[in-house]
Symmetry: C2
């Protein structure tokens, strides 16, 4: 088993490297925040530094040649991602419930359709102190560096 | 005045090239589908081939170094974008109302949070035959080719 403790919520490696044909696609949204044709990856195990997150790779796992990947993450109530930094930028767009983002020393509330831009090398962590799931799109460069854990 | 007839809804040039400092940002969403701190560009003029679209550049106009841009477009009832193709890929995510996408010879319905991936060189057009605005995120590579109009 891979030690996931130091992987970001956004950087967990793809389980499947199978590349599908390069074709137009329409992923229909379903009311449970899944998309028809998109695999749900569940990470139930808790690490030292992150917990209770699921991921769906919407763009980037199926042979697209975009310079970016689009992923949907959902942090369950009480869950959080690792506190980390990296050179690549993050764009976060809230689409389900609401959560918090610690960005450097600030803590921000991320509500529905709020947009967060995290510049390079900024320590950050996303968390969900609420009773409903917190779901967000996270857009990153396709080619990107690995996150580095940051001490609290 | 620039002739906008052959510009895509997604390729209308930025009016301002002013680059703000590279900093973390939190753009709060407002109920009228604007974001605090993001400029709304209104294109009321109708061209031969597109009409009634507004644009907000969420990521890409403020000094970010991402390899992608994130924009919000809103097509008013009866409006449509030009029928065109280009080498760069489009990712469209519906977030307000619903609309239609013509992709090659197919017509698809784009509903709330549906995701559309349009591969390179595919003729496409977005339209809104409904009575409510149709709003969507459109994510593209930062460096991209100009669209080429396609005959119907």
């Amino acid at each position: 088993m891979t030690d996931k403790r130091h992987l970001s919520s956004c950087e967990i490696p793809l389980r499947s490297s199978r590349r599908r044909a390069h074709r137009n696609r329409h992923y229909a949204f379903k009311s449970d925040y899944t998309w028809k044709g998109v695999k749900v990856e569940r990470y139930k195990q808790k690490g030292d530094d992150w917990s209770d997150i699921i991921r769906q790779v919407l763009i980037g796992a199926s042979g697209e040649t975009t310079r970016f990947h689009v992923r949907y993450f959902e942090i369950q109530p009480g869950g959080f991602s690792s506190f980390e930094k990296h050179k690549h930028e993050h764009v976060v767009i809230g689409i389900r419930g609401q959560g918090r983002a610690r960005v450097n020393k600030k803590t921000l509330v991320v509500k529905y359709l709020d947009l967060l831009y995290i510049k390079p090398d900024t320590p950050h962590r996303l968390s969900n102190p609420h009773s409903e799931p917190f779901g967000f799109l996270c857009i990153v460069n396709a080619r990107r560096d690995r996150p580095v854990p940051v001490k609290k």
